[in-house]
C-alpha cells in the first residue's frame, strides 16, 4: 500500500468478489472468496468440496486393486505416479519383491507423466498470464507423450497401467522407439519455451517478486514439489526416499532460493530437463524379466500401518494405510500435495493485485480433484 492512499482522506471500501467455482484461472471447480480493495487483495479464502467424491470412504469398501484405479481420478495429470504410490505401499506391506523390469518401466513412465504434466502446466500458465499461443505449443509436445501412453497402456490420461505386483501388460514393442523420438523432438522444443516466454520482459515483470514464499513458511505450510523447491526447501522424495528404479539414476534436484513465482516457474522448466536425462539413462537398458509377479486374487495386508511417499508432478503424495488384515483397508488417507500447496495461497497473495493472484496460482499448479479427493 503506497503512502499516497494511506494519508489521503479518500476512504476506499473493501468489497467482496467470488472467483470461481467456474472461472478460467482456477483450472477446475475451486472457489476463491476474495476480499479486495480496488485491485489490491486483502484476503483469499478457498471454498473447496465442489468435486469431493470422498475417495477415502470409497477405499474402505474396495479391494486394493480397485483402490489403484481410484487414484487415477485424484491428480489426473500424474495418474501413473498415483497408481504407483498405492502399488508400492501394498507391495512393501506384503514384502512382495517386484522384478527390475517393472521398476524401470514404472520410473520411465513416471518421468514421462511428469513431463506431460509440466508441458500442460506451461501451456496453461502462458494462458493465465495472457500469452494464448503457449497453450498450443505445450499441448503439441504433450500429445506425443499421450500417444506413447495410449499405445502402451491403452488410455491417454487415466491409465490404470499398474497393479499391485507389477504392470497390467508388457510395454508395446515400439515404446522405446517412440520415447526416443519424443526425447529428440522435445530437446529442440524446450529451449523454444524459454525464448518465447521465459525471456520475455513482460513475463518476467509479471512473475518476478510476485507471491514470495520464504523457506521457513514453505516447510511450515508443508509445501512440496516445485512450490517448495522454488523457495530453496529441498523436498524431492525421489532424492530423500527413492523408490522403484530411482536410486539407480543420477539426477540433480533443482533448487531456487528467491521463492517467487518466477523461481517456481524456472524449477519446473529445469525439472523437465532432469526428467529427460533420467529417461535417457534408463530407456536403453530395460532389463528382461516378466512384467507381473503373481499375487493371490484377494490381497490381504498384514495387520499394521504402512506409509509410502511418492513424488508426483505437483509434489509429495503420501499413502497411509491402516490395515486390520481384512481384504480392504481399515483406513486409507491420501496426503495430497495440492492440498498443502493451496493452503499457502492466502499467505502469498495478500497485498498483491488480481493479476498477481492469477500468476501465483498458475505457478502453484493446482489440480482441484487432487485437493478435494
Amino acid at each position: 500500500m503506497d503512502t499516497t492512499i494511506k494519508n489521503s482522506n479518500l476512504k476506499s471500501e473493501e468489497y467482496f468478489i467470488n472467483m470461481g467455482p467456474q472461472h478460467p484461472a482456477t483450472h477446475g471447480v475451486l472457489r476463491l472468496l476474495l476480499t479486495i480493495d480496488g485491485e489490491i487483495i486483502k484476503k483469499v479464502e478457498p471454498d473447496l468440496g465442489y468435486i469431493h467424491r470422498s475417495i477415502e470412504k470409497m477405499c474402505e469398501r474396495d479391494s486394493y486393486q480397485q483402490i489403484v484405479h481410484l487414484t487415477d481420478r485424484m491428480d489426473y495429470l500424474s495418474s501413473h505416479i498415483n497408481n504407483e504410490a498405492v502399488c508400492l505401499a501394498v507391495e512393501n506391506a506384503l514384502q512382495l519383491e517386484v522384478t527390475e523390469r517393472v521398476k524401470v518401466i514404472r520410473t520411465i513412465i513416471g518421468e514421462l507423466t511428469r513431463i506431460a504434466s509440466h508441458t500442460l502446466w506451461w501451456g496453461v500458465m502462458g494462458m493465465d498470464v495472457g500469452a494464448l499461443t503457449t497453450y498450443f505449443y505445450g499441448f503439441r509436445d504433450r500429445e506425443m507423450i499421450n500417444d506413447i501412453f495410449e499405445e502402451t497402456c491403452g488410455a491417454r490420461l487415466t491409465m490404470n497401467y499398474n497393479l499391485p505386483g507389477g504392470l497390467m501388460f508388457d510395454i508395446h514393442p515400439n515404446f522405446v522407439k517412440r520415447t526416443k523420438e519424443f526425447i529428440a523432438h522435445f530437446k529442440t522444443k524446450l529451449p523454444e519455451y524459454d525464448t518465447l516466454l521465459t525471456g520475455n520482459v513482460i513475463f518476467q515483470k509479471r512473475m518476478k517478486g510476485v507471491g514470495i514464499l520464504s523457506k521457513e513458511d514453505a516447510i511450515s505450510f508443508g509445501a512440496s514439489g516445485p512450490v517448495g523447491r522454488g523457495s530453496g526447501y529441498s523436498c524431492d522424495v525421489r532424492k530423500h526416499h527413492p523408490y522403484s528404479a530411482l536410486d539407480k539414476v543420477t539426477f540433480n534436484e533443482v533448487l531456487k532460493t528467491e521463492g517467487d513465482s518466477f523461481a517456481r516457474y524456472q524449477v519446473r522448466i529445469q525439472e523437465m530437463w532432469e526428467s529427460m536425462s533420467i529417461i535417457e539413462q534408463l530407456i536403453d537398458n530395460i532389463p528382461e524379466g516378466d512384467y507381473q509377479t503373481a499375487t493371490n486374487a484377494v490381497i490381504k495386508l498384514p495387520k499394521g500401518e504402512f506409509y509410502q511417499k511418492v513424488e508426483t508432478a505437483r509434489g509429495e503424495l503420501g499413502v497411509y494405510i491402516v490395515s486390520t488384515g481384512t481384504k480392504n483397508p481399515y483406513r486409507l488417507k491420501f496426503r495430497s500435495p495440492g492440498f498443502s500447496n493451496l493452503s499457502l495461497l492466502n499467505h502469498i497473495a495478500v497485498g498483491g493485485k488480481i493479476g498477481d493472484l492469477v500468476a501465483s496460482m498458475a505457478t502453484l499448479d493446482l489440480v482441484i480433484p487432487d485437493i478435494d479427493r
Partner: protein
C-alpha cells in the same frame, strides 16, 4: 476510366438537381454514411475472420474452414447468430445506460472512419483539423466502455471498466504526442495535406530517426488504445472472465466486438496515412492511375493490422500498474524528447527530401 473520385461532390450535384441546396447536402451525407456503414460493417467481419485465421496459423491450427469456401462466411454466420441471440441483462442494471453504452462505442469508431483519404479525392470528410478530430473521437469510445462496465451491475465488469478508463486516458497522451511529432514536418492537421507532403518521401523516411521512434511509440500506444493484448486487461480472460462486456449478449455484444476491430483498423489506417504515405505508391510507380491508391492504402493498413495481431498472439499481459508505469515513466518522456529532436531536425531542415 476517369470516374470522378470525389463522391461527396458528385452525389451533391446529383441530388441538387431535384432538391434544394441544403437538403442535397444532407442527402449526400446520409447516403455516404450508409455506404461507409455497409462497407465497414462487412470489413469488420472480415477483419475478425482474418484475426482468427492468423491466430490459427500462429498456433499450428487451421482456423475456421467449415462455413463457406475456406471459412469465408464464418463471421457472417457469427453475425447472424449474434443477431438472433436473446438480449439478456442483469436484474438491477441501470437499464438506460446499459443499453446506451454499445452505441457510444460503435458510433465513435464509425465516425472516425470518415476522415481517411482512401485515394486522391476519395474522402468523405476532408476537414482541416483531420488528425485532431480523429484523436478527439477515439477518446469518446472509452465513455461507452466505462458506462457498459458500470451499468451492468457486475463486479468483474466494474473492475474491467475502471481498468479501461485508466488505460485509455493515459495512452491518449502518447498517441497524441507521437502524431504531433509528425505534424511538425507536415505543418497541417488536414489528412489530405499530410499525404500531399509525403509526395516527396514518406514521413517515416523524411523524419528518419525521430519518426521511427514516434512510430514505435505510436504502435505501442495504439495497441493499448484499442484494449488489445499485451494491454488487454480490460477483458482479461484469465482474470476477469469477459471484462466490461460480461453482461452483454446478442447484438449489443456484437457492437462492442465489431467496434474493437474497427478501432484496430483505424489505428492502423492513421499510422499508414501519417507514417507510410497513405495511398501513395512507394516511388510514385502507380501515380497515373489514381484509384489504384486504394489498394496501396488497404495493403499498408493490413500490414500494420497483421503486426498488431502478431503482438496479440505472442506477448503475455501486463499488470495494470506496470501499464501505467510504462506510459508515464517511459513513453511520455521519450515522446517529449522525440518532439524536441524532431523540432531540431525540422528547424535545421535535415529531413531527407526526394
Amino acid at each position: 476510366m476517369n470516374i470522378s473520385l470525389n463522391i461527396t461532390k458528385t452525389i451533391t450535384e446529383l441530388l441538387s438537381g431535384f432538391m434544394s441546396e441544403g437538403a442535397a447536402n444532407i442527402g449526400a451525407m446520409v447516403t455516404i454514411a450508409l455506404i461507409y456503414l455497409a462497407i465497414f460493417a462487412v470489413a469488420g467481419l472480415y477483419l475478425v475472420l482474418l484475426e482468427r485465421k492468423v491466430a490459427a496459423w500462429f498456433q499450428l491450427r487451421l482456423g475456421p474452414n467449415r462455413v463457406g469456401p475456406w471459412g469465408l462466411l464464418q463471421t457472417m454466420a457469427d453475425a447472424l447468430k449474434l443477431v438472433s441471440k436473446e438480449l439478456t441483462g442483469t436484474v438491477k442494471a441501470d437499464k438506460f445506460l446499459y443499453n446506451l453504452a454499445p452505441y457510444f462505442v460503435i458510433v465513435s469508431s464509425l465516425m472516425a472512419l470518415s476522415v481517411f483519404p482512401f485515394t486522391q479525392e476519395f474522402q468523405a470528410f476532408d476537414i482541416n483539423i483531420g488528425l485532431f478530430f480523429l484523436i478527439a473521437i477515439s477518446s469518446i469510445g472509452v465513455i461507452g466502455i466505462l458506462l457498459g462496465g458500470w451499468a451492468s451491475n457486475n463486479k468483474f465488469a466494474l473492475i474491467g471498466a475502471m481498468r479501461s478508463g485508466v488505460q485509455t486516458i493515459s495512452y491518449e497522451l502518447s498517441v497524441g504526442l507521437s502524431l504531433l511529432t509528425m505534424v511538425l514536418i507536415t505543418g497541417s492537421f488536414q489528412l489530405s495535406e499530410i499525404v500531399e507532403v509525403q509526395k516527396n518521401g514518406w514521413l517515416i523516411v523524411q523524419g528518419h530517426i525521430p519518426a521511427l521512434i514516434a512510430f514505435m511509440i505510436y504502435m505501442i500506444a495504439g495497441t493499448a488504445e484499442t484494449n488489445r493484448a499485451p494491454f488487454d486487461m480490460v477483458e482479461a480472460e484469465s482474470e476477469l472472465g469477459a471484462g466490461f462486456h460480461t453482461e452483454y449478449s446478442g447484438m449489443k455484444f456484437a457492437y462492442f466486438f465489431l467496434a474493437e476491430f474497427i478501432n484496430m483498423f483505424i489505428i492502423a489506417a492513421v499510422a499508414t496515412t501519417v507514417f507510410f504515405g497513405g495511398w501513395l505508391s512507394p516511388f510514385g510507380i502507380t501515380e497515373s492511375i489514381p484509384w489504384l491508391g486504394v489498394f496501396w492504402f488497404i495493403g499498408k493498413t493490413f500490414m500494420l493490422v497483421f503486426l498488431m495481431m502478431w503482438f496479440r498472439w505472442t506477448f503475455p499481459r501486463l499488470r495494470v500498474d506496470q501499464l501505467l508505469t510504462l506510459e508515464w515513466k517511459y513513453l511520455l518522456p521519450l515522446n517529449l524528447l522525440n518532439i524536441i529532436l524532431m523540432a531540431l531536425i525540422v528547424w535545421l531542415n535535415l529531413t531527407i527530401q526526394f
